[in-house]
Symmetry: C2
Amino acid sequence: MQKIGFRLQLKMATLDEYVARHSSVWPEMLEALSATGWTNYSLFLDRTDGTLFGYVETSSLQAAKEGMSRLEINTRWQAEMSHYFESLEGRNPDEGFTELEQVFFLA
Amino acid sequence: MQKIGFRLQLKMATLDEYVARHSSVWPEMLEALSATGWTNYSLFLDRTDGTLFGYVETSSLQAAKEGMSRLEINTRWQAEMSHYFESLEGRNPDEGFTELEQVFFLA
């Protein structure tokens, strides 16, 4: 199982709205994530500067991303989410995140 | 089990040294972390700006931190690590980290 850390930059003006949306993610979106191998998935926010950190466990990040990219529910969700992020350069949040380097692990 | 995300700022000049130290953490330090309840613990680095993102699972972060704070091995390890971090304001890295807000979770 891969342990993945990633990072995104939220717009400060809409932090509260982003958080509210994530307290009620569409059930079909949650089912799609589970079905494509996204497990033990957390998003963490630093409200001081809008940094968003993601942590997810999956057997293959590439397969998990490709699995979601083929689903219409994800296309709709990411289109709505893209308004909350800075500098995605035209990509959706789930394609434009910065994957981080795992430098330590203790089971 | 709590899912904890936290953040620290590394000095850019010594990133490689910090990473090298974490490929060979003292065995006694690893044992101490396990004994005080630090599990599934990852550190992730963003080399573009030295942001360090920590993820750990524990039944109580307060108990896990207090458990380590009482151990001499931790005092020695944190004293060596403190040189690699920015703006800890005199605190050790494991006391000075910024805990992040978990805004989403999917098991």
